[in-house]
């Protein structure tokens, strides 16, 4: 019961955290109301609409991811997964980048599924490649990207960069650190699970899967909600145009589109349609980087990562993809001569 003790000790910390969030929120919206001369009620209304919009758009995908996670837990035996794994690390990591074709999830759903796969014994490098690639590497997002851009430099660039970055980051983190140094105890196979759920009748398993899906929703949903609130707050306070105005040039445009992708936290299934809005304003490299970086990391997934990975690893999971996607975007701009 070490966990309970830890939780009790953390109670004042939690109160402090929530209070801090509330203060930040009131200060931000209050400042905005003063500066724009609007009634506070209206500023709050704008925030509420933006927040609920992001939440409503994203939460079905989190639910689908939670359901997938519950079904994996009750219907897939850890041994089955381990048996099909490629033996060498490179093979496993590349396989991880393509795993999304079997578990189709977007960035809101990928975190619970990854954590579940980790607890079933998936190697770290493979899980991270899956985590970063799956939000794009799945049939739904292929379709939406194709509808928006057709088969062209944007689609192919997004595909190649996503796989390359996911495999590279997976190899780096998986190669440098042990699973214990990367994952929080809750995502490690042994901790918390003394029994395997993949047993019993189909009906029992299904009920179990639904119970686990609910737990998963509460566990991950809080990060989605805090992330959506943060994204909505930033959008309410920081004018989008101030970013757009700065985003010219082959390097800066990529930097700003990636920051925008991080802040907007739009779901990967629909981000292609959003990127269409910027086609006339931004370089091709910036569009591709927006589309390949955004699904890997954004505000809400950062918070969800924090529920799976240790803090230092979360930082790597943001900075490495940011740097690599930036490099790729700048190279595309150089190649296209923009």
């Amino acid at each position: 019961m070490q966990k309970t003790a830890e939780q009790n000790a953390a109670l004042p910390l939690k109160l402090l955290g929530l209070a801090l969030l509330a203060v930040l929120f009131l200060a931000g919206t209050g400042y905005q109301a003063l500066q724009s001369g609007l009634e506070y009620r209206l500023v709050l209304g704008v925030f509420a609409t933006r927040f609920l919009g992001i939440f409503i758009e994203a939460v079905p995908f989190l639910l689908l991811g939670s359901l997938t996670s519950g079904l994996i837990e009750t219907f897939v035996k850890a041994d089955d997964i381990l048996r099909f794994l490629p033996r060498n690390r490179l093979g496993a990591t590349v396989g991880g980048a393509f795993l999304g074709l079997i578990f189709p999830v977007c960035e809101c759903g990928v975190v619970p599924v990854t954590r579940r796969l980790f607890s079933k014994g998936l190697p770290v490098s493979m899980g991270i490649a899956f985590l970063l690639a799956a939000p794009f590497m799945n049939p739904i997002v292929f379709a939406s990207t194709y509808i928006a851009f057709g088969i062209g430099p944007v689609f192919i660039g997004r595909l190649v960069i996503t796989i390359a970055v996911a495999v590279f980051v997976g190899l780096v983190i998986g190669g440098l650190a042990s699973p214990r140094a990367v994952l929080k105890p809750i995502a490690l196979g042994a901790a918390g699970h003394s029994h395997d759920h993949a047993q019993g009748s189909a009906r029992e398993r299904l009920l179990q899967a639904l119970q686990i899906a609910s737990d998963e929703f509460f566990e991950m949903g809080r990060f989605l909600i805090m992330g959506s609130a943060l994204a909505a707050l930033l959008q309410t306070l920081v004018p989008q145009e101030s970013l757009l105005a700065l985003g010219t040039g082959p390097v800066l445009s990529v930097v700003f589109m990636q920051i925008l992708a991080y802040m907007l936290s739009v779901c990967s299934t629909v981000d292609s349609f959003l990127a269409l809005a910027f086609v006339n304003t931004f370089t091709t490299g910036a569009i591709v980087s927006f589309l390949s970086f955004g699904p890997m990391v954004d505000i809400k997934s950062t918070l969800m990562f924090a529920g799976v990975f240790r803090r230092r690893i979360v930082l790597y999971l943001i900075l490495l993809p940011f740097a690599l996607n930036l490099l790729a975007g700048v190279l595309i701009n150089a190649a296209l001569g923009t």
């Binding site: 509420a48 609920l52 409503i56 079905p60 609910s214 737990d215 959008q235 739009v266 349609f273 809005a277």
Partner: protein
């Protein structure tokens, strides 16, 4: 962990499902997401209700071996309740003039339209797309019948305003304000943010120091906010 956690979880799941179902039934869903993705809310509502019912069922008949994988405390419940509290205590509203933070764009959003609508059928976005491909004078005398809300910059003359709309590709996360310049003698009677239907004709003229195709209003009509407040590129 208190005995109230499990009922609270079931209640929150059912509440979320009911909230999404109510949004769909009332039509307020259009305030938040592009209706092209309304099916997402249907799926969300269905899964929430199923999970909520299963949780309620297992309250009555606890499963053979109960297992707390995650310890869910009051802080988690509070955070999960946050969207419901906002929805409960604040009226559902579409983004309006007060959400504009840094001006209204004169540039169209999204891919150029494959075909061009006849002038009287064009909305603000259609007009901006037309403006993008020809010089302002080419539109002289074109008739227009456009709806939007009033937006003003401090530098505008009293009879000048922008007839504006928010565009939305997926959800309000990418909502973007656009507008076309308009001029009417009676403009000052209408407050900033008011919804108007403007009928008139276009004429290239100086607007806020720039030569633009300007909508010269013949008639101004105050209207209610449309059922679909956003334009979908």
């Amino acid at each position: 962990m208190g005995a109230w956690v499990a009922p609270a979880k079931a209640l929150l799941l059912l509440g979320m499902g009911l909230y999404l179902a109510l949004l769909i039934a009332s039509g307020n869903l259009t305030n938040y997401i592009n209706l092209r993705f309304a099916w997402l809310a249907y799926i969300g509502a269905a899964i929430f209700l199923i999970l909520g019912l299963v949780s309620a069922y297992s309250l009555l008949r606890p499963p053979a071996h109960s297992h707390a994988h995650y310890r869910i405390g009051w802080d988690v419940l509070l955070i999960i309740a946050f969207p419901l509290l906002l929805a409960l205590f604040l009226p559902s509203r579409a983004l309006g003039v007060e959400a504009i933070n840094g001006g209204v764009s004169l540039r169209p959003v999204g891919a150029p339209a494959a075909f061009s609508r006849s002038p009287l059928d064009r909305n603000v976005l259609d007009w901006l797309r037309e403006f993008d491909r020809a010089a302002p004078v080419t539109f002289n005398g074109a008739p227009a019948d456009v709806s939007g809300f009033v937006y003003r910059e401090p530098s505008f003359a009293p009879e000048e305003f922008m007839l504006s709309r928010f565009t939305m590709s997926c959800c309000v996360a990418d909502a973007f304000p656009i507008g076309m310049p308009a001029r009417a003698d009676a403009a000052a009677e209408y407050a900033t943010g008011a919804w108007l239907r403007v009928r008139g004709e276009l004429r290239a003229s100086a607007f806020d120091g720039e030569l633009l195709p300007v909508l010269l209003a013949h008639t101004l009509e105050a209207i209610d906010e449309p059922a679909q407040p956003y334009l979908y590129p």
